[in-house]
């Protein structure tokens, strides 16, 4: 925090998220926030700073380092009628709670034949770009998007950071929100909400006619930058922000490809078995005859994320990689 955050009408992704949490805690006393260091420390990424003072330690609850126990406790509390928001520091650590998320949160409704809905929100950071090396940098949201019974969100803009939490809390089922670590400091003017944010649909962040750049989360700014470069060359790229990784808005993908006939899928996960693989497969299934070129994917190199800056940059999808992939489909 600090330097970047000024008095202007500008806000950061971090502040937008915090405002969403504040609103949720104010609006419904069944809501509480729990996780490692969300209270006194203010959240490991500063998202919940100040909320402890405002809402007290019952509702802004520091937990022990026990991902499985406090995520499971969130599930139990949701079953009993509360609306917990559980914060996990990063997706890497969420693996210690994967059992609870997959075997309990995602399955209880179905196994109980509708008797046990789990209205739980789990927030966590994901992604690389800050030289944190392999155990803090992976993008595993695609794994979660594999699981039926949960909703997976990836807010990429200030507006989505600010406005996706309320509908996530209103969802009777478990919702996972992935916040890309490199987005927290992004700042800008928070645009007024013209219509309620819906959690079922992808959105067009930049309309275009020549190629579809399909992405989400931390890769959105890179895709938009690539679209700018391409437009300077006369290539008019459409940028699709998936926003919701499960359920995936297949119709939006199909519709975009029907307009542009070319697709580049950008995903910070490893290419093999990634969400990008799923999107590409859908294009192959649904849009085969619309395509004028093979689908291109821009993903992370198949390597545990390195620490060294040059290596990390080389491992990650970059704007130049997106532009190059676009060229391969257009040329």
């Amino acid at each position: 925090m600090g330097a970047g955050e000024t008095q202007e009408a500008k806000t950061t992704y971090r502040e937008a998220m915090r405002e969403a949490l504040r609103e949720a805690l104010r609006a419904d006393d069944r809501v509480f926030l729990m996780g490692e260091d969300v209270g006194r420390y203010g959240g490991c990424f500063g998202v919940s700073l100040g909320l402890l003072e405002e809402f007290g330690p019952e509702r802004v609850r520091d937990t022990p380092l026990s991902e499985s126990a406090f995520v499971g406790a969130g599930i139990g509390a949701a079953l009993a009628g509360l609306r917990p928001i559980v914060e996990i520091m990063t997706v890497n650590f969420s693996l210690l709670a994967l059992d609870q998320i997959l075997n309990n949160a995602a399955t209880l409704l179905h196994m109980s034949c509708g008797q046990l809905p789990v209205p739980l929100v789990i927030r966590m950071t994901t992604g690389a770009g800050r030289q944190l090396a392999a155990q803090h940098s992976h993008s595993l949201e695609g794994w979660y998007a594999h699981i039926p019974g949960i909703r997976v969100l990836a807010p990429a803009t200030l507006e989505d950071a600010r406005h996706m939490l309320a509908p996530a809390l209103a969802d009777p089922d478990p919702v996972l929100i992935f916040e890309h670590g490199s987005l927290y400091n992004v700042s800008g003017e928070l645009l007024p909400l013209t219509e309620p944010v819906d959690l079922d649909h992808a959105t067009i962040r930049r309309p275009g006619t020549d190629i579809s750049l399909i992405t989400y989360g931390g890769s959105l700014p890179k895709a938009l930058a690539a679209a700018d470069e391409l437009s300077a060359e006369g290539i008019n790229a459409e940028v699709i922000d998936l926003r919701t990784l499960r359920p995936l808005d297949g119709a939006a993908i199909t519709a975009s490809v029907a307009r542009t006939h070319r697709a580049v899928v950008i995903d910070e996960a490893w290419r093999t078995g990634s969400l990008a693989a799923e999107v590409s497969a859908r294009i192959a299934e649904e849009s085969f005859y619309d395509l004028d070129a093979p689908v291109e994917r821009v993903c992370s190199a198949e390597v545990p994320m390195p620490y060294a800056r040059r290596l990390e940059e080389a491992a990650l999808p970059q704007t130049a990689d997106i532009v190059a992939a676009a060229h391969r489909t257009v040329d």
Partner: protein
């Protein structure tokens, strides 16, 4: 078992150690323990409840052999005193979380034999609509939250149910059953820490039947004194004779009373034994017949029946009447399950998310 224990643990009685002669219950202090209501009628209720579980599961064996029910089926035979004794201490508003060996817990909780049997048959009338089977019995109306097949996986969930009750100022207790095998899992320790730290109204009930599948306690735990280990988290912990339903009830009542006064989680190690194999698939090669036979001398149903007979509280006629009632009940449950409709395949995707189907009918 070790002798030295922290002051907060208490040993009510010890099970016979394998290889040594079984202790008989004659003169066992717990026999004189006053039960909650203490009356003859109450003992009859306990007996009937245990018999229902026993006969239900004996029928399951037949049905399994006849391929009427499938999947993993874990029988509770020998451990009935635990489910019945603990349930006596709970109110309908309390919550229960269980494992895959939960027929006994479910029946003791009041889920009907009909609903459980239909679930084993995979029918729509089952308590989980046929989606859970033997390992995943649920009943939201009875606050019965499963039916968890991941060893120790129910513990964090139970902590959350207890947390919700605590946060809303409700006087409820959440009771979580699990086996001795759960002690080796991190989730037990994470939950014990969390629950003690936050003083959650949680009753942790460890059914120590001395085996995790084929692995004996001393082969999976470095320290086999489980109550002592639980006590190290700063919770009240007792080891109790899990074959004596009245001793179980007495201990559970004390624990639940303690929990309701706000003293945080309590732990009961119930020393029990399963007379059957781990599951219907298990050839049971890892333990001696003689050991099983020794434990059968302490059959919880036999113990209570003997006690009642000695006190002139139970005659042959009364016992026959109870048995007949239960047989009728189970016959009816099987018949109803046989007749019950199967879930239409069109319902396959129902309840994946709340919007993907109507609520349970």
């Amino acid at each position: 078992m070790t002798v030295a224990r922290p002051t907060r643990t208490r040993k009510d009685s010890a099970p016979p150690k394998s290889g040594k002669k079984a202790k008989t219950t004659k003169g066992n202090a717990s026999a004189g323990v006053p039960s909650g209501r203490g009356a003859t009628g109450h003992r009859t209720d306990l007996l009937e409840s245990m018999l229902r579980i026993r006969r239900f599961e004996e029928r399951c064996v037949e049905l399994y052999s006849a391929a009427k029910i499938r999947g993993f089926v874990h029988l509770y035979i020998g451990e009935e005193a635990v489910a019945v004794g603990v349930n006596e201490a709970l109110t309908p508003e309390d919550a229960v979380v269980s494992t895959y060996r939960e027929h006994g817990h479910a029946l003791a909780r009041g889920i009907t034999a009909e609903a459980v049997m239909a679930e084993m048959y995979g029918r729509t009338t089952g308590c989980s609509g046929g989606r859970g089977g033997s390992m995943h019995l649920f009943d939201a109306s009875r606050r019965f939250y499963g039916g968890n097949a991941i060893v120790a996986g129910g513990l964090p969930l139970a902590a959350g149910l207890a947390l919700a009750d605590l946060m809303r100022g409700q006087d409820h207790v959440t009771c979580c059953f699990f086996g001795d095998g759960a002690f080796a899992e991190g989730e037990f320790h994470e939950t014990a820490n969390l629950a003690a730290l936050w003083k959650l109204p949680l009753l942790l009930v460890c059914e120590n039947n001395l085996y995790a599948m084929g692995t004996a306690l001393e082969r999976h735990e470095a320290q086999t004194d489980l109550a002592m280990r639980a006590a190290s988290y700063g919770m009240v912990a007792w080891a109790v004779d899990g074959m004596d339903v009245e001793a179980v009830e007495h201990a559970a009542r004390r624990a639940v009373e303690g929990i309701r006064t706000g003293t945080g989680p309590h732990f009961l190690e119930l020393r029990t034994y399963r007379f059957r194999a781990h599951s219907m698939y298990d050839p049971d090669r890892y333990r001696h017949k003689a050991e099983v036979e020794r434990w059968k001398e302490r059959d919880p149903i036999g113990l209570l029946t003997d006690r009642m007979r000695e006190n002139g509280e139970l005659g042959d006629k009364e016992l026959a009447r109870i048995e007949q009632r239960i047989t009728d009940e189970i016959d009816h449950a099987v018949e109803a399950a046989e007749q019950a409709p199967e879930e239409p395949v069109e319902h396959l995707l129902h309840h994946v998310t709340s919007s993907s189907a109507e609520a349970v009918s």
